[in-house]
Symmetry: C2
Subunit: 471 residues, 2 copies
Amino acid sequence: MNYGKANAAVIEELRSLLGTGNVIADEERMEAYSHDETSAEEYGHMPEVVVTPTTTAQVAGVVKLANRFRLPLTPRGAGSGLSGGAIPVYGGIVLSLEKMNRVLEIDYANMTMTVETGIVTNEINNLVKDKGLFYAGYPMSLETCFLGGNIAENAGGGKAVKYGVTSRYVLGLELVTPMGEVVWLGGKLAKDVTGYDLTHLVVGSEGTLGVVTTAIIRLIGLPKAKSDLLVLFRSPSEAISCVPEIIARGTIPTSIEFMDKLSVETSCKYLNESLPYEACGAMLLIEMDGSDPAQVDLDAEKVGDLCMEKGAIEVYMADNRTTQERVWSVRRNIAEAFKVRSPVQSLEDIVVPPASIPEIIPELDRIASKYGISIPCYGHAGDGNLHATLVKDPEMSMEAWKTAEPEALEELYAVVVRLGGKISGEHGIGLKRKKYMAEFMSPVELGLIKAVKKAWDPNGIMNPGKLFDPD
Amino acid sequence: MNYGKANAAVIEELRSLLGTGNVIADEERMEAYSHDETSAEEYGHMPEVVVTPTTTAQVAGVVKLANRFRLPLTPRGAGSGLSGGAIPVYGGIVLSLEKMNRVLEIDYANMTMTVETGIVTNEINNLVKDKGLFYAGYPMSLETCFLGGNIAENAGGGKAVKYGVTSRYVLGLELVTPMGEVVWLGGKLAKDVTGYDLTHLVVGSEGTLGVVTTAIIRLIGLPKAKSDLLVLFRSPSEAISCVPEIIARGTIPTSIEFMDKLSVETSCKYLNESLPYEACGAMLLIEMDGSDPAQVDLDAEKVGDLCMEKGAIEVYMADNRTTQERVWSVRRNIAEAFKVRSPVQSLEDIVVPPASIPEIIPELDRIASKYGISIPCYGHAGDGNLHATLVKDPEMSMEAWKTAEPEALEELYAVVVRLGGKISGEHGIGLKRKKYMAEFMSPVELGLIKAVKKAWDPNGIMNPGKLFDPD
């Protein structure tokens, strides 16, 4: 694919389209737009120009211009992505949605909110919690990420076991198509079979099928009660083995999060926090919620009993807000803590059928010991989605790591494929995982994906180099 | 589009591909495949040949042959559709999935079932109910429809208020693409962002993007308790006004079904059943379910109290299986009963934002009286999805009906558009509604749909004439 360059004439045209304040062309300010939360050294790439449009019409104008000059256009949310999805790998224009963060409507009667996609996800919850409502699709990074990024990646979250992921809560969206046309898909409808479900084709398409500027999201009733259990196990295998049983029996938990000892320890040290990890090999953090406090406590008790029956060392009940916040903060900060401890790593996002997760743990041990690396593991065990992380040990040379890492990864992926799993549960393919797509996807499926892409984006300008290489 | 004909040579080739017993070419036997549950007189069309393949490989063979001879190919489930989706409007081949009804796997650990799509939907529930599981995506016609048809239309059902529609329960599927390639999409995964979500692009695409031969469906825990309320109101408006309040307050019901007096009366007479409809103008049938019988009764009581507060005449609690079955049978048989009473009618499937449904009822009254027709109304009020039905009164001439019906329909649709609604909530567009698509969909959206279709089916052979006209 031969792309044009965002030369002086292009930048001038962008300035007159958007106003000078919405066009960034100096290197220093553009640096922040050259990477996301994946390693900048490995994946970063400088944009040629960054734009911060304030209206959908401006976005459409930029997309049309990009087609005219055949410029790569990379949409960007908060830059908190974990697969390099917002990195302008072919240069060109980065289109940041940071200034499009208005709340257009809160419709209490229909329990929906219409917002621009540059909004920080957690703001949605802050706006409606007093009315007893919440947006259940949010991911772990809710305090920094944008809704637009969640939509691009079809983000999951800590509550997905019970509530599902982002896509379940996106009822409609305003899309600027790769040709620069503006279209509303979906609506405030509980069900709708009027034409193909394009709304949910766009959700999770990683910005390759257009720019989502506005979304109608579904709100649901905020549960009146919740209870968190911190359950200690001797080994990761014992902890993980409990998970399918918890799901199959009784009330579905809101969350079943897994953390091995190293993950808890690393996060605790990072936060200067203390959880009783010394005597255990792994923990499950299980949340139950519901409308009736007594029922929720009863449900939590049953889960606790089941865990003890299955060999847990101890069950702690976090039944007040402060303690709940403490344990969840440990869980939420693991990725950040590992980055501080060892920046040389690969954060994975494998997902397997829920009943197969017990088979993953011994394989991680085997691969780690074979290649002399650490593979701490944590994640959304209730969804079969584990953030196994390949980490270079301090004594290992960079050269040895560079040989070991791809081989260890290949072995891990082979296990995932054998178990009927996939390469990404919630972080996306982006730049980081595209070279492995062929292992997880038949040529026919990849052909169908590329056919859709080509049909909607004949010039190949929308976020090129993500998911697959441009033709 | 210039299609070929299924001439003697084609039929001979199909026989050698599938065996003589799987190819039907005589007029009398083909007649059953010329229509669905829409009016055969208005929409029926004879196929040139009908095939009943028994394996995915055979299906792929038929699709490849159809491409080679450029023959229209119409997939067919039980033929219980309500939008003409399975009618071979351009002749050619009808591919019936009636012989592909095997259960390939019940995976209790992952709570999934893998089945061929010719299975009768209700059989799924019969197979797993003893294990305390069920398939929550089923529609009202579950005793006759095929899962494949549910997937094609993304069918809704009586339980959608709480459980959502078919798409939520389809985790993966085997698709024979319009070019005759076989591909597995999705898998037994709680979440998956590995590539575009093609699984749910196919769900609801009405057989225009390929033939779904096998599906992996999600099972969930069968609720241990349920309670049904039959609530009588003076008028349809009073009944409908209650619906958004029921949803916004407290526990989400499994179902909130609406039936106006004429609908209840007609179905009761058809079934020789008696419900206390004489003194009322409309009813709500509300179901609550859950894991704890006492809690479910409490939830039901609260909903009953709310209805009384909002002016209901009476609340009947159907708390045993026999009574529950009786009232649900009345609801399920309304469409059938109306067909017997007056075969000249148009069964609609409008869907509006839930909070807007109270505005629909006075408009139906207005339109009915303006055009001198009846518009009984029933449906899934909890989803904003109403089966308003335009019915010719006995004294009206066919000529007058033929003028009145399209005009009344246009007025009804204008109301739906004004309220932010769509033309179909669960029955699909098919043949019956395609001429109205432009009113409910922008040219840009229709263009995006056609672009996907064209990219996957360049020869235009898969179920042509549905959703839109072929080029």
